[in-house]
C-alpha cells in the first residue's frame, strides 16, 4: 500500500476534537411575523483528529462538510457542542484568546483567488500572519517568505507578484504557503483542489502529501471527490445532511462500505474503465438530497435508501461501532461485526459483487 497508516499502527494523541457539534443557521425569515426556520448545517457531530493522520470528510453539497471545517477552526461560531484543540476547549474563546490557537490551526480554501487579497503582493500576503504573530525581525520574515515559496514549489523570486499574475494552481500553492507560514500543527483544507484543472490537481495533492511528511502535519481534508479523498486520507468521515453516517479507515471503507449512503456514493462515482477496472452495473439513488431545513424523521437517509424499512422512519440510528474501527449510523449496516459484507447487502447487489 502507500504511506504508513499512522492512525492504524500508532494512534497519535487526539489533536482536534469536536463533541456534539451543532451549527444552525437562521433561514432568511421575516422579522415581525412568520415562523422562524433553521437550517441544520451540522447536527450533533462528534469526531476526533489524531496527530499525523489525514481525516477525509466526504459528502455532497449541502451535507455540512464546509460548515464543519469552519467550525473546527472557529471561523464561525458554533451553536452548541464543543471544539477542543490539544484538549483545551476553544469553542468560546475570544478573538484575542484564539490568536495563539490560530497559529496551530489553519484553513486552506477552495478558491485561492477569492481568498487572496488581489491588491497585495504575494510577499505581503505571506508575511502578514508573521507580523501579526511576531515571527521575528524583517529580515527573518523575508527569509521565511522565500523558504515558504520554495517549499510549495514556487519560485522565490515571485514575492513581488500579485495573485492575478499566477495560474490557479500557483495561487493554491500561495494559499497553502500562507497556511504554512506559522508552522501550524493542523491544516483544515476545504475542497482545495476542486477548482483546479485535473493535471494541476495531482500536483497539489502530491504537494499536500510531501508537506505532511516534511512538517509532520495533520490534515482535515474536506472534498466531494471520492478518488481525491481516498488518495490523501488515512481515515474517512462520510457526512449526510449534517450528520456523520460512517467513519472508518480508508481502505476498508472503500472496499466494503458500511452505510448504504457510502455505498451509493461509491457506486455513483464515475471511473475510467480499463484492464484493471471493468464496467459495472450499479444501483442509482433516486431523488435529491432533502432540504436541511426540513429533515426527514428517523434516519436522514431513509428517503433515498434502497434498504430502508419501517424502523428507519421511526428511529434515528445512532453512530455505533459495527465492526472494529468502523462506526456506522444505520439500523441495517452493510458490514457484519467481523467486517465482512452483510448478507442483505449482497442480495441487493451491493458493492461486494461490483468488484
Amino acid at each position: 500500500m502507500r504511506r504508513p497508516e499512522r492512525a492504524d499502527s500508532d494512534p497519535g494523541e487526539v489533536l482536534l476534537e469536536a463533541r456534539d457539534l451543532t451549527k444552525h443557521f437562521p433561514v432568511r425569515g421575516h422579522s415581525l411575523v412568520g415562523g422562524r426556520q433553521v437550517l441544520r448545517a451540522v447536527e450533533g457531530l462528534s469526531l476526533a483528529v489524531r496527530a499525523g493522520e489525514t481525516l477525509g470528510v466526504v459528502g455532497e453539497s449541502g451535507c455540512g462538510k464546509s460548515t464543519l471545517g469552519r467550525c473546527l477552526v472557529r471561523l464561525t461560531d458554533v451553536t452548541s457542542g464543543t471544539v477542543s484543540f490539544h484538549g483545551r476547549d476553544i469553542t468560546r474563546l475570544s478573538r484575542r484568546q484564539l490568536r495563539p490557537v490560530r497559529r496551530d490551526l489553519q484553513l486552506v480554501f477552495q478558491d485561492p483567488y477569492a481568498s487572496l487579497n488581489p491588491r497585495r503582493r504575494v510577499g505581503d500576503i505571506l508575511s502578514e500572519p508573521m507580523q501579526i504573530h511576531g515571527y521575528g525581525d524583517r529580515r527573518a520574515i523575508a527569509r521565511h517568505v522565500q523558504e515558504l515559496l520554495e517549499v510549495v514549489g514556487l519560485n522565490a523570486s515571485h514575492v513581488d507578484r500579485f495573485p492575478h499574475e499566477f495560474s490557479g494552481g500557483q495561487r493554491q500553492r500561495v494559499g497553502i504557503a500562507r497556511a504554512l507560514a506559522m508552522n501550524p500543527k493542523v491544516i483544515v483544507a476545504d475542497e482545495p483542489v476542486s477548482a483546479l484543472d485535473v493535471s494541476i490537481q495531482a500536483q497539489v495533492l502530491n504537494l499536500f502529501l510531501d508537506l505532511q511528511d516534511e512538517f509532520a502535519l495533520t490534515y482535515v481534508f474536506i472534498a466531494h471527490d471520492l478518488g481525491v479523498v481516498r488518495h490523501v486520507s488515512s481515515r474517512i468521515v462520510v457526512m449526510y445532511l449534517g450528520e456523520v453516517v460512517e467513519t472508518a479507515v480508508t481502505d476498508p471503507l472503500y472496499d466494503r462500505p458500511g452505510h448504504p449512503y457510502t455505498e451509493a456514493l461509491l457506486q455513483s462515482a464515475p471511473d475510467v474503465e480499463d484492464e484493471e477496472v471493468a464496467p459495472r452495473e450499479r444501483i442509482l439513488l433516486t431523488g435529491d438530497v432533502p432540504n436541511p431545513v426540513d429533515k426527514p424523521s428517523g434516519c436522514p437517509f431513509r428517503t433515498r435508501c434502497p434498504y430502508a424499512q419501517e424502523l428507519c422512519a421511526r428511529e434515528h440510528p445512532p453512530l455505533r461501532e459495527v465492526a472494529p474501527g468502523r462506526h456506522v449510523a444505520c439500523h441495517f449496516p452493510l458490514v457484519t461485526p467481523t467486517g465482512d459484507v452483510a448478507q442483505h447487502a449482497l442480495s441487493a447487489g451491493g458493492s461486494g459483487s461490483a468488484r
Binding site: 432568511r28 421575516h30 415581525l32 411575523v33 412568520g34
Partner: protein, 322 residues
C-alpha cells in the same frame, strides 16, 4: 402573496411612525429653537410668549406634544399654520397633491416609454452609430438643469414664439383634470416634457446597461441555442429580466418626485404643487406646514417603496417565496 403585502404594509406603518417622531423632534424639541418665539413675533413680551405657549400646547411634555400634533394632523385634521394664522395645513396639502401627482405621473409615462425605447434600441444596435447617438441624447437630457430648461421652454412658448408657433400654449398655471381634461393636459404638456427629459436620459442608460448585462447571461445563450429569434431573445428574455431593477428604481424616483422633489419644475411652471408648498413653508419656517409636508413626502416615499417591493415580487418569482 397576501401575506407578503400584509407584512410589507406593517413595516411601512412602522417606518412612517419613526419618521414622524424624528421630524417632530428635529423641529420642535431641538434645544435653542423656540417655536413660541417664532409665532409670537419679534420682541414679544414674556406674557405674550406664555400665552402663545399655552395656546399651542408648547408648555406640555414632549410626548404629549407629539401626541397632540399627530392628533391635529391625522385625527382632527385641523392643524393650523403658524404663519398664516387660521390657514389649515391638511386642506392646503390636499389641494396641492393633485397638481403634483398630475405632473409626475404624466412625466413618468413619457420618460418610461422613452427610456425603454431608447435603451433597448441602443442595446440592440450596439456597435452601430445608433448606440452612441442615443446615449449622447441621454447625457444631454441628464446634464441640462431642469430650472434652466424650464425657463428656456417658458421663454420660447410664452413670449418669444408665443404669437407664432406656440400660440396654442396656455399661460402658466394649473387646470384641474375634472374641470377640463383637455386644458389639464395642455397646461401640463411642457412641464411633463421638461421633467421627463431629465429622467428619460437616465433610464435609457440604465435600461441599456441592464440589457447588455442580461445578454451575457447563460439563459440568453440557452435561448439562442433553442433557436429563438434575436428579437424574441431581446424582448422576452433580456428586456424582461432587465425590468426588475428598472422598475424598483422607478418606484423610488416616482415616490421621491411625488413627495416634493418635483419642486423646481413646479416653481418654474407656476404649478401650485406640494413641492412649491414645502418650498414656501420652509422659507417662512412654518413648522406645522413643514411637518405636514414632510409627513406627506415620507408617506409617498414609503408607499412607493412598498409598491416597489410588491411589484418586484410580481416581476421576479424568486423573491415571492422569501
Amino acid at each position: 402573496m397576501a401575506m407578503f403585502i400584509g407584512r410589507r404594509a406593517a413595516a411601512a406603518v412602522f417606518v412612517l411612525f419613526t419618521i414622524s417622531v424624528l421630524v417632530f423632534l428635529i423641529f420642535f424639541a431641538t434645544p435653542g429653537v423656540d417655536p413660541a418665539a417664532r409665532i409670537a413675533g419679534r420682541n414679544a413680551d414674556p406674557a405674550t410668549l406664555m400665552q402663545v405657549r399655552h395656546e399651542f400646547g408648547l408648555d406640555r411634555p414632549i410626548p404629549i406634544r407629539y401626541g397632540l400634533m399627530m392628533e391635529h394632523l391625522f385625527v382632527q385634521r385641523d392643524l393650523t399654520s403658524f404663519v398664516n394664522r387660521g390657514a389649515l395645513v391638511i386642506p392646503q396639502i390636499l389641494q396641492a397633491v393633485p397638481v403634483t401627482l398630475s405632473l409626475v405621473a404624466g412625466a413618468a409615462v413619457i420618460w418610461m416609454v422613452l427610456g425603454l425605447l431608447m435603451g433597448t434600441a441602443a442595446a440592440a444596435r450596439r456597435g452601430t452609430a445608433l448606440d452612441p447617438l442615443m446615449m449622447l441624447l441621454g447625457v444631454v437630457g441628464v446634464s441640462i438643469p431642469v430650472y434652466w430648461l424650464g425657463e428656456v421652454v417658458n421663454l420660447l412658448t410664452q413670449s418669444r414664439w408665443h404669437s407664432g408657433l406656440f400660440s396654442w400654449v396656455p399661460p402658466l398655471g394649473y387646470v384641474g383634470l375634472s374641470q377640463s381634461p383637455g386644458q389639464w393636459a395642455l397646461h401640463l404638456l411642457f412641464p411633463w416634457l421638461t421633467l421627463a427629459a431629465l429622467y428619460a436620459g437616465i433610464y435609457a442608460r440604465i435600461v441599456r446597461g441592464e440589457i447588455l448585462e442580461a445578454l451575457n447571461e447563460d439563459y440568453v445563450r440557452t435561448a439562442r441555442a433553442k433557436g429563438l429569434t434575436e428579437r424574441r431573445i431581446l424582448i422576452r428574455h433580456a428586456l424582461r429580466c432587465s425590468l426588475i431593477p428598472v422598475v424598483s428604481l422607478f418606484g423610488l424616483d416616482f415616490g421621491a418626485l411625488v413627495g416634493g422633489s418635483a419642486l423646481l419644475t413646479e416653481v418654474v411652471f407656476g404649478l401650485p404643487g406640494v413641492g412649491k408648498l414645502t418650498f414656501d413653508s420652509l422659507q417662512n419656517l412654518d413648522l406645522p406646514v413643514i411637518m405636514g409636508c414632510v409627513m406627506y413626502a415620507a408617506f409617498f416615499v414609503v408607499l412607493a417603496n412598498a409598491v416597489v417591493d410588491v411589484l418586484y415580487a410580481a416581476l421576479d418569482p424568486r423573491v415571492r417565496r422569501a
